[in-house]
């Protein structure tokens, strides 16, 4: 089953917040993560797809069929909520069997299928427990089993890991991915955690202020961000203001840097993106793009060190695994990406 969002628009009554003209596709079996700062509209996207909100404009196509006007209960989406929303008065088994009960599945088959779904998430032995008797991670897995047991047309995950502690989160990440791939189901994953998105998703959609900024593979999003907003939201980024001098050089606070202007006219304002881990220590062999400065902050993060170097009134963040003094670094031309200088 595939899921297509086509020009989806929604504005909350009595506010300006909402989403504008959002379009993307989730292919069969694909996990697409939507990320963005809080208030960017990512949860609104989930509510629209689930049918909890009706779009003001645009369409939602499920397997090519317009489902925009289908009520939530008839839409057949498996939703996992941030707080799991398990029914407190039902056992894990009854929770998982509930969608089957609603669909009129016979009691014996209901039990078999619910137990099977609980087995898939490794909770067959906890079937008779109430939600209150399960840990956060277990509740999360029951919610996943409940969302999948009725063979939904798509799986919608609303910040499914945010209520778990850091150690459980990574483990549960793999668990969700394993179950999702086994079910081969198109999945929309809403999260504010970019690391979660980059590590789990086949593709990532970045949202900002109600608009879709970029859709791409995690690698594309990180290495080839389409805009300054995407670059600054995903990962750490040095964003250096500059002016194009000619096709191969740009004026910056760090001096004239060699970088491809990507066809921009001389004199146009640009932003240079350099990821901190792409900054090289020491002077370049050919002297190109060498920056000398003073270390103003030095953070030890275990596997690496993050330094702030001040030069030309501007800070440059550098990541390295090496210990020792740092005063000269260089920016390899291949590590520099030129973006439009938006606000």
């Amino acid at each position: 089953m595939s899921l297509v969002l086509d020009g989806l628009t929604y504005t909350y009554p009595s506010s300006q917040a909402g989403v504008r003209d959002v379009s993307f596709e989730i292919r069969p079996g694909e996990l697409l993560a939507v990320i963005g700062p809080s208030g960017c509209g990512k949860t609104t996207i989930l509510k629209l797809v689930a049918g909890f909100l009706r779009p003001d404009g645009g369409r939602i196509l499920v397997d090519g069929v317009d489902a925009s006007d289908t009520p939530a209960r008839a839409r057949g989406m498996g939703v996992v909520f941030q707080s799991y929303a398990l029914f407190p008065h039902m056992s894990a088994l009854q929770n998982v069997a509930y969608p089957l009960r609603i669909r009129g599945v016979a009691a014996s088959e209901r039990r078999t299928r619910a137990l099977e779904a609980l087995g898939l998430v490794g909770l067959a032995r906890e079937a008779e427990r109430r939600p209150a008797q399960l840990s956060g991670g277990q509740q999360q897995r029951v919610a996943l089993a409940r969302a999948l047991v009725f063979r939904p047309r798509a799986l919608l995950l609303d910040e499914p890991l945010s209520a778990l502690d850091a150690a459980r989160r990574v483990e549960t990440r793999d668990e969700i991915l394993r179950v999702q791939k086994a079910a081969g189901i198109a999945t929309l994953h809403i999260t504010h955690d970019q690391e979660e998105a980059l590590s789990m998703a086949d593709r990532v959609a970045v949202m900002g202020e109600g608009r879709l900024l970029q859709v791409g593979t995690p690698r594309e999003i990180y290495e080839r961000p389409a805009s300054r907003a995407v670059a600054s939201f995903v990962g750490h980024a040095n964003l250096i203001p500059g002016t194009v001098r000619d096709a191969g050089s740009i004026d910056t606070p760090f001096g004239l840097l060699a970088a491809s202007s990507a066809g921009r006219a001389p004199g146009s304002a640009v932003t240079l993106l350099v990821r901190p881990e792409r900054v090289a220590l020491g002077p370049a062999p050919d002297g190109l793009n060498t920056v000398q400065g003073a270390v103003v902050r030095d953070r030890y993060l275990g596997s690496l060190r993050r330094l702030d170097l001040e030069a030309g009134g501007h800070r440059l963040t550098v990541e390295t695994a090496q210990a020792g003094e740092v005063s000269t670094v260089h920016l390899p031309p291949s590590a520099i990406q030129v973006l439009a200088a938006e606000a």
């Binding site: 689930a50 049918g51 909890f52 939530a72 209960r73 008839a74 839409r75 057949g76 989406m77 498996g78 939703v79 909520f81 707080s83 929303a85 398990l86 029914f87 407190p88 008065h89 509930y98 969608p99 609603i102 669909r103 109430r130 939600p131 209150a132 008797q133 409940r146 969302a147 009725f150």
Partner: protein
Amino acid sequence: MGAVTALYIAYLLTPIALLAIGSVGATWSNTMLPEGTTLRWFEAVLADRSFRQAFWTSLVVCAATVAICALVGTPLAYALYAAASRKIRLAARILHLLPVAVPAVVLGFGFMLVFSTDALPYLGSTWVLVGGHVVLGLPYLLQALIGDMRHLGLERLELAAESLGASFPQRFRDVVLPALRHSLLSGSIMVAALSIGEFQLSNLIAGFLNRTYPIVLLQAFYGATGFACAATVVLIALAVLASVTGAVAARGAAVRGAAA
């Protein structure tokens, strides 16, 4: 801390203990405690037609009040919880808390004015009495229900049920009602206890033939001490029964709440 608690409990229980002793004492005048034991005061209360009648009226009014509160209160609490507008919620909250803040005498006077008009000449009927008790009791039930809805995050539970395919009646039957059963029970028992003990309002609006037990009880204070004690013990027994059941129900809710 322990001493304060002990003093408070003594202060609370001593009058009740004295009432209990007085109700089985044969004679009690100018002594610290009554002399001799007897059951004749209870027999006398039982034999008194106006007390039997009042006891029955109290039970009927209480049962009707609880039933109406539950039937009106559950959908009302749900509507207040789900109300989209913050202003509506605030207005409704003030409105439904008014009966708690306004003295029952004021409320009773209002009832007297309204129900002695030509259009509504119903003052003194049992239904007006029930209506008064509903007005007084409903806020407590609503508080219990709305608090529980917030605690449970009922809205999310409903969204979950909806996404799983449940229609509104199915959600109400399978999720809303069962999830709220503890608070509905404990709130209802609160209403029952309130209705059984209510005096101020009932005294103003009850008719002569449908006086509730507390009103008739007041008459007993003008007679023999033992008789008054026995009549009061009957009321206390009713109230204790209501609060014990209420506490058990509330404990069920608390156990589930703490574990959740």
